[in-house]
Symmetry: C2
Subunit: 207 residues, 2 copies
């Protein structure tokens, strides 16, 4: 698939997973794309835990449901009603959960480019996620990033050691389709903004 097609076709998938298997070669290409991401000082500070176990996914699903309730309780009126209609995850319906971790100890004691910006390593692991997401899109898979969870819960669930920070649970798998319009826009939660609102010349200018 052409790069720009992958960028524009990519959706945050929640409802369209079919649960069909992911061929091994496809999964390897998707993970290899993530592993080819840029990283500060070439530290490659990411980990990918592939979760297929039903019981692990059920435990995560139940935790996410309770965090959904926490967020819902912060809303009222039209916002609460709109949120109520939105499906936020496909943990059980997707084929695979991928927990992405960030390991700051990767890359040796002095990571080139990280002394001034401690978060530069964290940024690298996020770049890998976007490569993964685009590659999955090109392979006809959907990806949904779940962020309704507490980091300690997820660390404990998949046994991350102290130094590895969980930064995402990605629901991954074949999908019935990828909608043209993002879910949050279709359900009236938010609309996409024009490019001009985020581009500034020479210096930041308030909009």
């Amino acid at each position: 698939m052409e790069l720009y097609d992958a960028i524009n076709r990519r959706r945050d998938t929640r409802a369209e997973f079919t649960g069909a298997p992911i061929p091994d070669d496809v999964l390897t290409r998707v993970l290899s794309a993530a592993h080819a991401a840029p990283s500060v000082g070439m530290s490659q500070p990411w980990d990918f835990v592939l979760v297929r176990s039903r019981s692990t996914r059920e435990a995560f699903h139940s935790h996410v449901a309770s965090e959904r309730d926490v967020f819902a309780a912060s809303l009222s009126g039209e916002r609460a009603e709109t949120f109520n209609r939105i499906k936020i995850e496909g943990i059980l319906e997707s084929t695979l959960g991928i927990v992405v971790g960030y390991d700051p100890t990767r890359g040796g004691p002095a990571v080139l480019g990280r002394h001034a910006i401690a978060d530069a390593g964290l940024y690298s692991a996020v770049l890998a996620i976007q490569n993964l997401w685009l590659a999955a899109t090109a392979e006809g898979l959907g990806v949904g990033w779940v962020s309704f969870y507490r980091e300690e819960f997820l660390s404990s669930l998949v046994g991350l050691p102290e130094q590895v920070r969980p930064i995402a649970w990605l629901c991954v798998g074949p999908v019935a389709d990828l909608p043209d319009v993002p879910d949050l826009e279709r359900f009236g939660w938010r609309h996409r903004s024009p490019l001009e609102t985020v581009v500034h010349e020479e210096r930041y200018s308030p909009r």
Copy 2:
């Protein structure tokens, strides 16, 4: 360009910038790719400040040189010698600097998906950078992410308001070529690791 070609061709560029102009339509496609990135609660919390001014770039270049010295002073022996040979940025040689900011106030008071993970918004802005980087690669441009700077310095340099955090200075522009092997590998700083070292089944397993 095919997605996988863009992922594999992409390099962190420092030495190959030609300084040639970037056509407006090309720049718009690259920025539009960034703006099409996924974002938590569709908050689109990124800003792009396009810096062409020679004086702004000279001020940043000089700041980065002093931060390079700070890092160099932390090294000794073979590491210090290896680092000494590595060019870390092309701020003056590239055509354009793009300062990427993260604005946590974007997306309304209750950002769907950010209540449990405060950094989810920051992650969104980083995803946009990877889209930008791949699009630039497909357009024949190089991108170099400079992280040898203090955030306060960069904020002040381009006038970011209090709530906007600078997360990157990207050097962008046409390049003589994109090397097959990353600079840090060519210069013997680090080598890329095999995929198997970062993939785990069901639970994290120490390597």
